[in-house]
Protein backbone atom coordinates (compact mmCIF):
# COMPACT_ATOMS: atom_id res chain seq x y z
CA UNK A 1 0.00 0.00 0.00
CA UNK A 2 1.37 3.33 -1.09
CA UNK A 3 2.02 5.70 1.79
CA UNK A 4 0.16 8.98 1.31
CA UNK A 5 1.63 11.57 3.62
CA UNK A 6 2.56 15.16 2.87
CA UNK A 7 2.17 16.93 -0.44
CA UNK A 8 2.15 15.22 -3.87
CA UNK A 9 1.73 11.78 -2.36
CA UNK A 10 -1.18 10.90 -4.66
CA UNK A 11 0.93 11.79 -7.68
CA UNK A 12 3.57 9.59 -9.28
CA UNK A 13 6.92 10.00 -7.54
CA UNK A 14 8.59 13.29 -8.40
CA UNK A 15 11.63 13.21 -10.65
CA UNK A 16 14.86 14.76 -9.43
CA UNK A 17 14.28 17.77 -11.62
CA UNK A 18 10.84 18.29 -10.14
CA UNK A 19 12.20 17.88 -6.64
CA UNK A 20 14.91 20.45 -7.38
CA UNK A 21 12.33 22.94 -8.59
CA UNK A 22 10.21 22.51 -5.48
CA UNK A 23 13.30 22.93 -3.32
CA UNK A 24 14.30 26.09 -5.18
CA UNK A 25 10.82 27.45 -4.64
CA UNK A 26 11.14 26.85 -0.90
CA UNK A 27 14.58 28.45 -0.77
CA UNK A 28 13.40 31.49 -2.70
CA UNK A 29 10.63 31.88 -0.16
CA UNK A 30 13.27 31.94 2.58
CA UNK A 31 12.40 28.57 4.07
CA UNK A 32 15.10 26.20 5.14
CA UNK A 33 14.96 22.72 3.73
CA UNK A 34 15.51 19.58 5.79
CA UNK A 35 16.04 16.01 4.75
CA UNK A 36 14.39 13.42 6.98
CA UNK A 37 14.15 9.65 6.91
CA UNK A 38 12.42 6.90 8.82
CA UNK A 39 11.47 3.25 8.58
CA UNK A 40 8.35 3.64 10.70
CA UNK A 41 5.63 4.91 8.40
CA UNK A 42 2.92 5.29 11.06
CA UNK A 43 1.01 8.56 10.43
CA UNK A 44 1.47 9.62 14.03
CA UNK A 45 5.24 9.27 13.72
CA UNK A 46 5.66 13.00 13.14
CA UNK A 47 9.32 13.46 13.89
CA UNK A 48 11.50 11.54 11.50
CA UNK A 49 15.28 11.28 11.80
CA UNK A 50 17.05 14.35 10.46
CA UNK A 51 19.75 13.80 7.86
CA UNK A 52 22.60 16.18 8.64
CA UNK A 53 21.53 19.63 9.66
CA UNK A 54 18.74 21.92 8.50
CA UNK A 55 20.07 23.80 5.48
CA UNK A 56 19.54 27.38 6.55
CA UNK A 57 22.29 28.88 4.43
CA UNK A 58 22.12 26.98 1.15
CA UNK A 59 21.03 29.44 -1.56
CA UNK A 60 20.62 26.95 -4.39
CA UNK A 61 18.72 23.69 -4.79
CA UNK A 62 21.85 21.92 -6.02
CA UNK A 63 23.21 21.89 -2.46
CA UNK A 64 20.08 20.21 -1.15
CA UNK A 65 20.05 17.72 -4.01
CA UNK A 66 23.65 16.88 -3.20
CA UNK A 67 22.69 16.01 0.38
CA UNK A 68 19.59 14.15 -0.76
CA UNK A 69 21.74 11.95 -2.96
CA UNK A 70 24.09 11.33 -0.05
CA UNK A 71 21.11 10.27 2.04
CA UNK A 72 19.88 8.01 -0.75
CA UNK A 73 23.23 6.29 -0.90
CA UNK A 74 22.67 5.16 2.67
CA UNK A 75 18.93 4.60 2.91
CA UNK A 76 17.41 4.23 -0.54
CA UNK A 77 15.18 1.17 -0.74
CA UNK A 78 15.22 0.64 3.00
CA UNK A 79 13.70 3.83 4.40
CA UNK A 80 11.28 6.59 3.54
CA UNK A 81 13.00 9.89 2.76
CA UNK A 82 11.16 13.19 2.77
CA UNK A 83 11.99 16.85 2.37
CA UNK A 84 10.44 19.46 4.60
CA UNK A 85 10.65 23.23 4.38
CA UNK A 86 10.67 25.18 7.61
CA UNK A 87 9.52 28.79 7.68
CA UNK A 88 11.18 30.60 10.55
CA UNK A 89 9.31 33.89 10.20
CA UNK A 90 7.54 35.10 13.31
CA UNK A 91 4.04 33.64 13.79
CA UNK A 92 4.75 30.85 11.30
CA UNK A 93 7.68 29.05 12.84
CA UNK A 94 6.61 25.75 11.41
CA UNK A 95 6.72 23.59 8.32
CA UNK A 96 5.27 25.03 5.14
CA UNK A 97 5.81 22.09 2.84
CA UNK A 98 6.70 18.47 3.26
CA UNK A 99 6.78 15.71 0.69
CA UNK A 100 8.13 12.20 0.35
CA UNK A 101 10.91 11.79 -2.21
CA UNK A 102 11.88 8.15 -1.78
CA UNK A 103 10.08 5.07 -0.57
CA UNK A 104 11.13 1.52 0.23
CA UNK A 105 10.80 -0.90 -2.66
CA UNK A 106 7.88 -2.64 -1.03
CA UNK A 107 5.32 -1.03 1.25
CA UNK A 108 3.28 -3.64 3.14
CA UNK A 109 0.75 -1.15 4.53
CA UNK A 110 -1.21 -1.05 7.77
CA UNK A 111 -3.34 -3.38 9.81
CA UNK A 112 -6.53 -2.12 11.45
CA UNK A 113 -6.97 -3.56 14.91
CA UNK A 114 -10.32 -3.58 16.70
CA UNK A 115 -10.37 -3.75 20.43
CA UNK A 116 -13.65 -4.51 22.18
CA UNK A 117 -14.06 -2.51 25.37
CA UNK A 118 -16.86 -1.51 27.73
CA UNK A 119 -19.62 -3.71 26.39
CA UNK A 120 -20.17 -3.23 22.67
CA UNK A 121 -17.79 -0.26 22.23
CA UNK A 122 -14.84 -0.68 19.87
CA UNK A 123 -11.52 1.12 19.79
CA UNK A 124 -9.57 1.23 16.56
CA UNK A 125 -5.88 1.42 16.08
CA UNK A 126 -3.60 1.15 13.04
CA UNK A 127 -0.32 -0.66 13.06
CA UNK A 128 2.22 -0.79 10.24
CA UNK A 129 3.01 -4.34 9.18
CA UNK A 130 6.58 -3.18 8.75
CA UNK A 131 6.73 -2.35 12.46
CA UNK A 132 6.40 -6.03 13.36
CA UNK A 133 10.06 -6.37 12.68
CA UNK A 134 12.70 -4.56 14.73
CA UNK A 135 13.92 -1.10 13.83
CA UNK A 136 16.45 -1.12 11.01
CA UNK A 137 15.26 -4.47 9.63
CA UNK A 138 11.81 -3.43 8.44
CA UNK A 139 12.17 -3.10 4.70
Amino acid sequence: MRLTQGAFSFLPDLTDEQIARQVQYCIDKGWSVNIEFTDDPHPRNTYWELWGQPMFDVPDAAGVMFELNECRKTYKGRHYIRLSAFDSTHTWESLRLSFITDRPDEEPGFALERQEVDGRAIRYTTRAYAANRPEGARY
Binding site: M55, A62, G63, L97
Partner: protein, 314 residues
Protein backbone atom coordinates in the same frame (compact mmCIF):
# COMPACT_ATOMS: atom_id res chain seq x y z
CA UNK B 1 0.19 23.26 1.26
CA UNK B 2 2.45 25.65 -0.56
CA UNK B 3 3.95 24.36 -3.73
CA UNK B 4 4.61 25.31 -7.32
CA UNK B 5 1.93 24.07 -9.60
CA UNK B 6 2.56 26.13 -12.73
CA UNK B 7 2.78 24.41 -16.09
CA UNK B 8 5.89 24.66 -18.20
CA UNK B 9 5.64 27.48 -20.78
CA UNK B 10 4.33 26.34 -24.14
CA UNK B 11 7.13 25.73 -26.58
CA UNK B 12 6.98 28.03 -29.57
CA UNK B 13 10.54 28.13 -30.74
CA UNK B 14 10.21 26.62 -34.18
CA UNK B 15 9.73 30.02 -35.79
CA UNK B 16 12.79 31.45 -34.07
CA UNK B 17 14.85 28.40 -34.71
CA UNK B 18 15.05 29.07 -38.41
CA UNK B 19 16.05 32.73 -38.10
CA UNK B 20 19.47 34.12 -37.36
CA UNK B 21 20.62 35.47 -34.04
CA UNK B 22 22.20 38.87 -33.77
CA UNK B 23 25.14 38.20 -31.43
CA UNK B 24 25.67 41.89 -30.89
CA UNK B 25 22.12 42.40 -29.70
CA UNK B 26 22.39 39.30 -27.58
CA UNK B 27 25.59 40.73 -26.08
CA UNK B 28 23.72 43.82 -24.96
CA UNK B 29 20.49 42.14 -23.91
CA UNK B 30 22.23 39.55 -21.76
CA UNK B 31 23.66 42.42 -19.73
CA UNK B 32 27.15 41.19 -20.49
CA UNK B 33 28.04 44.37 -22.35
CA UNK B 34 27.16 46.38 -19.31
CA UNK B 35 29.16 44.22 -16.92
CA UNK B 36 32.26 44.27 -19.13
CA UNK B 37 31.96 48.01 -19.63
CA UNK B 38 31.68 48.49 -15.90
CA UNK B 39 34.74 46.32 -15.50
CA UNK B 40 36.63 48.52 -17.95
CA UNK B 41 35.49 51.64 -16.21
CA UNK B 42 36.07 50.64 -12.63
CA UNK B 43 39.20 48.54 -12.78
CA UNK B 44 42.43 50.22 -13.78
CA UNK B 45 44.84 48.32 -16.02
CA UNK B 46 44.63 44.50 -16.01
CA UNK B 47 44.44 44.41 -19.81
CA UNK B 48 45.16 40.66 -20.23
CA UNK B 49 42.59 39.84 -17.57
CA UNK B 50 39.88 41.89 -19.22
CA UNK B 51 40.79 40.36 -22.56
CA UNK B 52 40.38 36.89 -21.12
CA UNK B 53 37.06 37.70 -19.48
CA UNK B 54 35.83 39.02 -22.82
CA UNK B 55 36.86 35.78 -24.49
CA UNK B 56 35.10 33.66 -21.90
CA UNK B 57 32.03 35.85 -22.21
CA UNK B 58 32.06 35.45 -25.99
CA UNK B 59 32.39 31.69 -25.72
CA UNK B 60 29.44 31.46 -23.37
CA UNK B 61 27.39 33.69 -25.63
CA UNK B 62 28.18 31.61 -28.69
CA UNK B 63 27.37 28.45 -26.77
CA UNK B 64 24.04 29.92 -25.86
CA UNK B 65 23.33 30.75 -29.48
CA UNK B 66 24.25 27.19 -30.44
CA UNK B 67 21.87 25.79 -27.86
CA UNK B 68 19.20 28.03 -29.34
CA UNK B 69 19.58 26.31 -32.69
CA UNK B 70 19.47 22.93 -31.07
CA UNK B 71 23.15 22.30 -31.71
CA UNK B 72 24.81 20.30 -29.06
CA UNK B 73 26.57 22.51 -26.59
CA UNK B 74 28.72 20.73 -24.07
CA UNK B 75 28.67 22.86 -20.97
CA UNK B 76 32.17 24.27 -20.83
CA UNK B 77 34.49 23.81 -17.88
CA UNK B 78 34.66 27.18 -16.24
CA UNK B 79 36.89 26.48 -13.29
CA UNK B 80 39.67 29.07 -13.21
CA UNK B 81 42.87 29.86 -11.51
CA UNK B 82 43.92 33.44 -10.84
CA UNK B 83 47.59 33.94 -10.25
CA UNK B 84 49.33 37.16 -9.47
CA UNK B 85 51.15 39.17 -6.88
CA UNK B 86 49.45 40.52 -3.78
CA UNK B 87 47.02 43.38 -4.34
CA UNK B 88 46.53 42.88 -8.09
CA UNK B 89 42.75 42.63 -7.82
CA UNK B 90 42.15 38.88 -7.87
CA UNK B 91 39.28 38.96 -5.40
CA UNK B 92 37.64 41.94 -7.07
CA UNK B 93 37.70 40.22 -10.44
CA UNK B 94 36.36 36.99 -8.91
CA UNK B 95 33.37 38.93 -7.66
CA UNK B 96 32.80 40.31 -11.16
CA UNK B 97 33.25 36.86 -12.61
CA UNK B 98 30.38 35.59 -10.50
CA UNK B 99 28.23 38.38 -11.87
CA UNK B 100 29.25 37.73 -15.48
CA UNK B 101 28.51 34.02 -15.21
CA UNK B 102 25.21 34.79 -13.56
CA UNK B 103 24.20 37.19 -16.34
CA UNK B 104 24.95 34.50 -18.88
CA UNK B 105 22.97 31.96 -16.96
CA UNK B 106 25.90 29.67 -16.23
CA UNK B 107 25.50 29.90 -12.51
CA UNK B 108 22.01 30.14 -11.19
CA UNK B 109 22.49 32.45 -8.23
CA UNK B 110 25.70 34.34 -8.89
CA UNK B 111 26.84 34.59 -5.30
CA UNK B 112 30.49 34.36 -4.35
CA UNK B 113 31.65 32.25 -1.44
CA UNK B 114 35.19 33.16 -0.42
CA UNK B 115 37.09 30.57 1.56
CA UNK B 116 40.62 29.80 2.64
CA UNK B 117 42.21 26.63 3.95
CA UNK B 118 40.66 27.16 7.39
CA UNK B 119 37.14 26.85 6.04
CA UNK B 120 37.78 23.62 4.16
CA UNK B 121 40.19 21.60 6.24
CA UNK B 122 39.18 20.14 9.59
CA UNK B 123 41.18 19.73 12.75
CA UNK B 124 40.84 16.04 13.37
CA UNK B 125 40.14 12.83 11.46
CA UNK B 126 36.66 12.81 9.98
CA UNK B 127 36.19 16.55 10.38
CA UNK B 128 37.36 17.60 6.93
CA UNK B 129 34.81 15.90 4.69
CA UNK B 130 31.67 17.35 6.32
CA UNK B 131 33.32 20.76 6.54
CA UNK B 132 34.29 20.81 2.88
CA UNK B 133 30.89 19.50 1.82
CA UNK B 134 29.17 22.16 3.88
CA UNK B 135 31.08 24.87 2.03
CA UNK B 136 30.47 23.26 -1.35
CA UNK B 137 26.76 23.09 -0.63
CA UNK B 138 26.73 26.74 0.27
CA UNK B 139 28.57 27.65 -2.93
CA UNK B 140 26.42 25.62 -5.28
CA UNK B 141 24.63 27.75 -7.81
CA UNK B 142 27.40 30.30 -7.46
CA UNK B 143 31.14 30.70 -7.45
CA UNK B 144 33.52 29.23 -4.90
CA UNK B 145 36.64 31.37 -4.53
CA UNK B 146 39.53 29.63 -2.79
CA UNK B 147 42.07 32.23 -1.77
CA UNK B 148 45.68 31.10 -1.29
CA UNK B 149 44.69 27.69 -2.61
CA UNK B 150 48.22 26.27 -2.36
CA UNK B 151 47.90 26.10 1.43
CA UNK B 152 45.49 23.20 0.90
CA UNK B 153 48.40 21.01 0.02
CA UNK B 154 51.16 20.64 2.58
CA UNK B 155 53.75 18.22 1.25
CA UNK B 156 55.87 18.44 4.39
CA UNK B 157 53.15 16.83 6.50
CA UNK B 158 51.94 13.56 5.05
CA UNK B 159 49.12 13.28 7.55
CA UNK B 160 47.76 16.68 6.65
CA UNK B 161 43.99 16.67 6.08
CA UNK B 162 44.29 19.07 3.16
CA UNK B 163 44.58 16.16 0.76
CA UNK B 164 41.13 14.96 1.77
CA UNK B 165 39.62 18.37 1.05
CA UNK B 166 41.36 18.38 -2.33
CA UNK B 167 39.89 14.99 -3.21
CA UNK B 168 36.35 16.07 -2.38
CA UNK B 169 36.82 19.31 -4.28
CA UNK B 170 38.06 17.49 -7.35
CA UNK B 171 35.16 15.08 -7.25
CA UNK B 172 32.56 17.85 -7.06
CA UNK B 173 34.37 19.98 -9.64
CA UNK B 174 34.15 17.10 -12.05
CA UNK B 175 30.67 15.74 -11.33
CA UNK B 176 28.77 18.94 -10.73
CA UNK B 177 30.22 21.28 -13.29
CA UNK B 178 26.81 22.77 -13.93
CA UNK B 179 26.23 23.63 -10.32
CA UNK B 180 29.46 25.19 -9.27
CA UNK B 181 32.38 27.19 -10.62
CA UNK B 182 35.59 27.04 -8.62
CA UNK B 183 38.18 29.80 -8.79
CA UNK B 184 41.56 29.16 -7.23
CA UNK B 185 43.76 32.13 -6.45
CA UNK B 186 47.27 32.61 -5.23
CA UNK B 187 50.78 33.79 -5.96
CA UNK B 188 52.10 32.52 -9.26
CA UNK B 189 55.13 30.49 -8.15
CA UNK B 190 53.38 28.74 -5.29
CA UNK B 191 50.32 27.96 -7.41
CA UNK B 192 52.65 26.44 -9.98
CA UNK B 193 54.05 24.12 -7.33
CA UNK B 194 50.53 23.31 -6.14
CA UNK B 195 49.43 22.32 -9.63
CA UNK B 196 52.53 20.23 -10.15
CA UNK B 197 51.80 18.29 -6.99
CA UNK B 198 48.10 17.90 -7.87
CA UNK B 199 47.90 17.16 -11.59
CA UNK B 200 44.19 16.50 -11.20
CA UNK B 201 43.65 20.15 -10.49
CA UNK B 202 45.57 21.42 -13.45
CA UNK B 203 43.55 19.38 -15.90
CA UNK B 204 40.24 20.37 -14.35
CA UNK B 205 41.00 24.06 -14.37
CA UNK B 206 40.43 25.33 -17.88
CA UNK B 207 41.35 28.96 -17.53
CA UNK B 208 44.62 30.10 -16.06
CA UNK B 209 44.57 33.86 -15.80
CA UNK B 210 47.68 35.77 -14.79
CA UNK B 211 47.27 39.14 -13.12
CA UNK B 212 50.13 41.47 -14.07
CA UNK B 213 51.63 43.99 -11.67
CA UNK B 214 50.41 47.55 -12.03
CA UNK B 215 52.57 50.24 -13.59
CA UNK B 216 53.26 53.50 -11.78
CA UNK B 217 50.64 55.40 -13.74
CA UNK B 218 48.02 52.76 -13.04
CA UNK B 219 48.82 52.84 -9.35
CA UNK B 220 48.37 56.61 -9.30
CA UNK B 221 45.03 56.21 -11.07
CA UNK B 222 44.03 53.63 -8.47
CA UNK B 223 45.01 56.04 -5.71
CA UNK B 224 42.89 58.72 -7.34
CA UNK B 225 39.85 56.43 -7.37
CA UNK B 226 40.33 55.36 -3.80
CA UNK B 227 40.45 59.01 -2.73
CA UNK B 228 37.42 59.81 -4.83
CA UNK B 229 35.33 57.15 -3.13
CA UNK B 230 36.49 58.40 0.27
CA UNK B 231 35.74 62.00 -0.67
CA UNK B 232 39.29 63.29 -0.45
CA UNK B 233 41.45 65.10 -2.94
CA UNK B 234 45.12 65.81 -3.36
CA UNK B 235 46.42 69.36 -3.58
CA UNK B 236 48.64 69.92 -6.66
CA UNK B 237 51.79 69.70 -4.54
CA UNK B 238 50.49 66.57 -2.88
CA UNK B 239 49.83 65.11 -6.32
CA UNK B 240 53.48 65.57 -7.12
CA UNK B 241 54.56 64.11 -3.80
CA UNK B 242 52.28 61.12 -4.36
CA UNK B 243 53.86 60.56 -7.77
CA UNK B 244 57.25 60.44 -6.10
CA UNK B 245 55.92 58.18 -3.37
CA UNK B 246 54.58 55.61 -5.81
CA UNK B 247 57.84 55.57 -7.75
CA UNK B 248 59.86 54.93 -4.60
CA UNK B 249 57.49 52.49 -2.96
CA UNK B 250 57.29 50.28 -6.07
CA UNK B 251 60.97 49.55 -5.90
CA UNK B 252 60.86 48.54 -2.25
CA UNK B 253 60.29 45.04 -0.91
CA UNK B 254 56.88 43.95 0.42
CA UNK B 255 55.12 45.98 -2.20
CA UNK B 256 51.50 44.85 -2.52
CA UNK B 257 50.27 46.87 -5.50
CA UNK B 258 46.78 48.28 -4.93
CA UNK B 259 46.77 47.32 -1.29
CA UNK B 260 49.97 49.25 -0.56
CA UNK B 261 48.46 52.31 -2.19
CA UNK B 262 45.33 52.02 -0.10
CA UNK B 263 47.40 51.69 3.06
CA UNK B 264 49.57 54.64 2.14
CA UNK B 265 46.52 56.80 1.61
CA UNK B 266 45.04 55.65 4.88
CA UNK B 267 48.19 56.75 6.65
CA UNK B 268 48.13 60.07 4.81
CA UNK B 269 44.60 60.61 6.08
CA UNK B 270 45.84 59.89 9.56
CA UNK B 271 48.54 62.53 9.23
CA UNK B 272 46.09 64.99 7.76
CA UNK B 273 43.75 64.53 10.69
CA UNK B 274 46.63 65.02 13.06
CA UNK B 275 47.78 68.15 11.23
CA UNK B 276 44.32 69.69 11.28
CA UNK B 277 43.96 68.87 14.92
CA UNK B 278 47.29 70.40 15.81
CA UNK B 279 46.78 73.58 13.79
CA UNK B 280 44.29 74.86 16.38
CA UNK B 281 42.30 77.02 14.00
CA UNK B 282 38.79 76.57 12.64
CA UNK B 283 38.72 74.17 9.68
CA UNK B 284 36.77 74.63 6.46
CA UNK B 285 35.19 71.91 4.36
CA UNK B 286 38.03 72.39 1.91
CA UNK B 287 40.61 71.71 4.62
CA UNK B 288 38.83 68.49 5.50
CA UNK B 289 38.91 67.01 2.01
CA UNK B 290 42.38 68.13 0.94
CA UNK B 291 45.51 66.10 1.54
CA UNK B 292 48.59 68.35 1.52
CA UNK B 293 52.06 67.46 0.32
CA UNK B 294 53.26 67.37 3.92
CA UNK B 295 50.89 64.52 4.72
CA UNK B 296 52.52 62.39 2.09
CA UNK B 297 56.08 63.58 2.37
CA UNK B 298 56.12 62.59 6.05
CA UNK B 299 56.18 58.97 4.98
CA UNK B 300 59.20 56.89 5.88
CA UNK B 301 59.54 55.92 2.24
CA UNK B 302 61.14 59.27 1.50
CA UNK B 303 63.80 58.75 4.15
CA UNK B 304 64.74 55.36 2.73
CA UNK B 305 62.59 53.26 5.06
CA UNK B 306 59.55 51.18 4.31
CA UNK B 307 56.19 52.71 4.92
CA UNK B 308 54.40 50.06 6.85
CA UNK B 309 52.90 49.27 10.17
CA UNK B 310 54.32 47.77 12.24
CA UNK B 311 57.63 49.25 11.03
CA UNK B 312 59.85 46.64 9.43
CA UNK B 313 63.41 46.55 10.64
CA UNK B 314 65.56 46.80 7.53
Amino acid sequence: MDAITDNPPALDETAERRGAIDLGAEFVSSGLAEVLEQLDRELVGLVPVKQRLREIGALLLVDRARAHFGLQAVSPTLHMSFTGNPGTGKTTVALRMAEILHRLGYVRKGHLVTVTRDDLVGQYIGHTAPKTKEILKKAMGGVLFIDEAYYLYRPENERDYGQEAIEILLQVMENQRDDLVVILAGYADRMERFFTANPGFRSRVAHHIDFPDYTGDELEAIGGRILETMNYKLSPEAQEAFHGYVGLRMRQPHFANGRSIRNALDRARLRQANRLFASARPVTADDLVTLEAADILASRVFSGGIDSYPPLST
